[in-house]
């Protein structure tokens, strides 16, 4: 499949500080890709470079088959991290304006703007000035402004921040709609549940460096397989079992529960059988499926903490 975005060895230096340090990754055409990373990891800088708002210090970026985003500007939609609108323009007016800047004829832009507002629940606010909209509504308007010209690639920087749960769902719906129209979506977030629900691929960066690029499935395979067990005198049996890497008491407050890290080849059915064979009365036998949250903490935990202290 063709790639929509490809970064090769991209470095962005601000003075002495490497905001983005030798990052390479690619986003497939038609995919929804989550761009994950802790605060200050270099997500926004990377996005700005992809959009040619900033130029990389070195490395190359290709976007929609071109070397430079300015050549395909009209095919890209962008929602920046910090949202803002012209206070004195109407909701419909501002969506239409941004669409015309992307080369859409004025008339068409106007009718699309009204259509979109209607579709995503802002129909009665079309002619309200932006200063009269709530923060969440304003954000929705801005998201709609970034997709009104029907771009092939949509880049959303923190689209969920500041939205209530209902509108977060609307946002997810917007992204899924884009996918169903065959668009490519790259969005950054640090709320893993959204990424987990809607992404196929993820890119994780931490402290300016690439930590992961692949599918969600591949990401989940990074974490070792874990099984939680609990039962009478279970500790005595464990050392005699095969395929177990380590065994530590679980820290989540449950008494007497152990977390086993097992080898990749270990079949959980055999493990369960071994416990039966050893005559252990099991209280708990739980195969842990890693979620993206854990993977994220695993990948960037140290860096994120460091960044937080900076």
């Amino acid at each position: 499949m063709a790639t929509a975005i490809e970064l090769k060895n991209v470095i962005k230096r601000f003075g002495e500080f490497n905001a983005v340090d030798d990052v390479s990754f690619s986003v497939k055409e038609g995919a929804i890709c989550g761009f994950l990373g802790p605060n200050g990891a270099g997500k926004t800088t990377s996005i700005r470079m992809i959009l040619d708002i900033l130029r990389p210090t070195s490395g190359s970026i290709s976007i929609l088959g071109e070397k430079n985003a300015s050549l395909v500007r009209d095919r890209i939609g962008y929602l920046p991290e910090e949202k803002g609108l012209y206070k004195k323009m109407t909701a419909a007016g501002i969506i239409a304006y941004f669409a015309t800047l992307k080369g859409m004829p004025k008339k068409e832009a106007r009718s699309i703007a009204r259509e979109l507002l209607q579709k995503y629940g802002l129909g009665s606010f079309m002619d309200h000035k932006c200063e009269a909209l709530s923060k969440g509504m304003g954000q929705k308007v801005q998201v709609l402004a970034s997709i009104a010209h029907s771009p092939d690639l949509v880049i959303l920087d923190e689209p969920f921040s500041g939205l209530d749960p209902v509108n977060q769902e609307v946002m997810e719906e917007v992204i899924r709609d884009l996918k169903s129209q065959g668009k490519t979506v790259l969005f950054s977030t640090h709320v893993m549940s959204h990424a987990e629900r809607i992404c196929e691929d993820i890119v994780v960066i931490a402290a300016g460096k690439l930590a992961f690029n692949g599918t969600v499935q591949q990401a989940k395979a990074i974490l070792p397989r874990r099984v939680r067990v609990g039962g009478e005198s279970i500790e005595e049996v464990i050392p005699s079992l095969d395929g177990i890497v380590s065994c530590t008491p679980l820290q989540d407050g449950r008494e007497g529960v152990l977390e086993l890290i097992v080898e990749e080849t270990t079949d959980s059915r055999n493990l369960l059988k071994s416990f039966f064979d050893a005559g252990i009365a099991l209280d708990i036998f739980e195969v842990v499926k890693p979620d993206l949250h854990e993977i994220f903490v695993h990948l960037v935990g140290e860096d994120a903490r460091e960044a937080a202290h900076r």
């Binding site: 700005r48 708002i53 990389p56 323009m89």
Partner: protein, 537 residues
């Protein structure tokens, strides 16, 4: 290009929707209209009749003063009658203007003659038309106005010219009205007695009873016995120190009389004195820059010399009003972070150009509206004969001059507009911007200061030197344009301005690119220089 246009259009529409824009457009003609109307209104309605008591211990002085007051009253009445006639016969007069040769001296002679022949009540028989009677204005001699019989005839003459169906003429309030001393006082009473008795009225504590009405006593004038000797002084009592018309009228008329007495005493003919006082040495001004035979300098040339001041003002106001809009807009976009979306759709250059052109269009609209409303008001006010406003403009501003003005206006405007947009891009609040604006405002004050004296020496050292400093060049060159500056200066500064505008655009666009994405404190000057050097920010 289409993107520049769209950014410009939005910028224009947004500004055109603001209250400030419409207030700006409407305030100006309103101000001009008020400037024309208020003084007239005040003259007509504002100053009430001044009631005055004149106590003359010298009969001749009393007569002269009273005569002068009568003269002023009649002048006011005549001028308002003329205005009325002018208003009622405006259409007729426009026609007459074209085929009437107007000779004041001849007309006056005719008037004298005419008035002495007709009876005061038979005004209809006369050799005049309304145009002549309006134009004769202030020329009517004092003696004629002071002659009761002729005054009445003159008034009837004017009234008889009113076309049928005209509004009736309403006699204006008298300017001055003398009221007599209260019962127990006479001109023989001592000053002290009179002043003490009248003090409460002069202080406006009480209204002064005069005939059947009570009036506000404006002033008390006591003229002493030997006033013409110049030894004793007039005692003028009034709480109003600002309105000196009454006192001036009395002192002037008495001084005149005193001088005439003195001439007689020294056996000098007063007629000779008047004639001698009218002697004037006249001069003709020539300009060696003009073609042979046309070197004579007329009023038109002088206006031409000073007309550029208007353009300098215009440029100055344009830059000033635009500065605010550009700063506000850029800072709004920056603090709202809209800029990032914009920059994903248009390049910094497109955005910068769009903004500057959009705001320029707002400024131009405003100025065209001003010029248009000014010409309209002047023409309305001055009646249909006021083609001169347009004629004068056309005569004073020849095409070469106009091209020069437009060139320097555009380059001057762009120079500052790009500068302001650049400044706006590095500031997060208007407060930040003010720090940068301070020095620029100082620079901008300079041409305003030199504006008045450059026309005195348009090709002098200072003017020439200042022409070569880009921030001042457009102003100074506009100022000099009418004085035929050397071609080398025009071409040289023209090229310099184009280069400067491109430079400022380039710098601003660099700064803009980095500045608009930056948050926090505005950068230091050294940092700014760094931005210019780095090509890949």
């Amino acid at each position: 290009m289409i993107r520049i246009y769209r950014v410009a259009l939005r910028e224009y529409m947004e500004n055109a929707k603001t209250k400030g824009f419409w207030i700006g457009i409407l305030l100006f003609p309103l101000m001009i209209w008020l400037m024309l109307e208020v003084p007239r209104f005040l003259e007509e309605k504002g100053i009430p009749t001044r009631h005055v008591i004149i106590v003359a211990k010298d009969d001749a002085a009393g007569d002269i003063s009273r005569q002068r007051l009568t003269l002023l009253n009649r002048q006011k009445s005549l001028s308002s009658l003329q205005q009325h006639l002018a208003k009622e016969t405006a259409d007729q007069r426009a026609e007459m203007l074209e085929n009437t040769e107007f000779d004041a001296a001849e007309l006056l002679e005719k008037l004298e003659e005419g008035l002495s022949q007709i009876s005061p009540d038979a005004g209809a028989i006369n050799p005049f038309n309304p145009e002549q009677l309006v134009e004769i204005g202030d020329l009517v001699p004092d003696e004629l106005l002071l002659n009761d019989f002729r005054w009445k005839a003159l008034k009837n003459l004017l009234l008889s010219q009113l076309p049928e169906g005209s509004a009736a003429f309403v006699e204006p309030e008298l300017r001055f009205k003398e009221v007599s001393l209260p019962g127990d006082l006479t001109s023989e009473s001592t000053n002290e007695e009179i002043e003490n008795a009248l003090r409460p009225y002069l202080r406006s504590e009480k209204l002064f009873p005069s005939n059947d009405e009570n009036v506000d006593l404006f002033a008390l004038v006591i003229i002493p016995e030997n006033v013409f000797d110049g030894e004793s002084q007039i005692r003028f009592w009034s709480t109003n120190l600002a309105d000196t018309d009454l006192l001036d009228a009395i002192t002037n008329s008495l001084s005149e009389h005193a001088r005439n007495l003195e001439y007689e005493k020294r056996e000098i003919s007063t007629a000779d004195v008047t004639e001698i006082a009218a002697l004037r040495i006249r001069s003709n001004n020539f300009n060696p820059n003009k073609e042979a035979g046309e070197e004579k300098v007329g009023i038109r040339d002088k206006i031409r010399q000073y007309a550029p001041i208007g353009f300098v003002y215009l440029l100055w106001i344009a830059i000033f009003s635009v500065a605010q809009m550009l700063l506000n807009n850029t800072i709004e976009e920056k603090s709202n972070r809209i800029i990032e979306v914009l920059l994903s759709s248009v390049t910094t250059n497109e955005l910068l150009l769009g903004k500057v052109f959009g705001v320029a269009a707002v400024g131009v609209t405003m100025q065209l509206a001003w010029i248009g409303s000014m010409i309209t008001i002047l023409r309305l006010k001055a009646g249909p004969g006021a083609e001169w406003v347009v004629d004068l403009m056309a005569a004073v501003i020849s095409p070469e001059l106009l091209i020069g003005f437009i060139f320097y206006f555009v380059t001057g405007y762009l120079f500052y507009a790009f500068l302001f947009a650049g400044i706006g891009s590095v500031c997060n609040t208007i407060k930040d911007a003010q720090n940068f604006m301070g020095p620029i405002m100082l620079i901008l004050m300079v041409p305003l200061g030199t504006m008045m004296f450059i026309p005195n020496d348009p090709n002098g050292t200072i003017a020439t030197a200042m022409s070569w400093i880009p921030p001042w060049s457009p102003f100074i060159m506009m100022n000099r344009m009418a004085a035929n500056p050397p071609m080398s200066d025009i071409v040289g500064t023209g090229v310099m301005m184009i280069v400067s505008v491109i430079m400022v655009f380039w710098i601003s666009s660099r700064v803009f690119r980095v500045g608009v994405l930056r948050t926090g404190q505005p950068p230091k000057i050294l940092e700014l220089l760094g931005w210019l050097r780095s090509s890949n920010s």
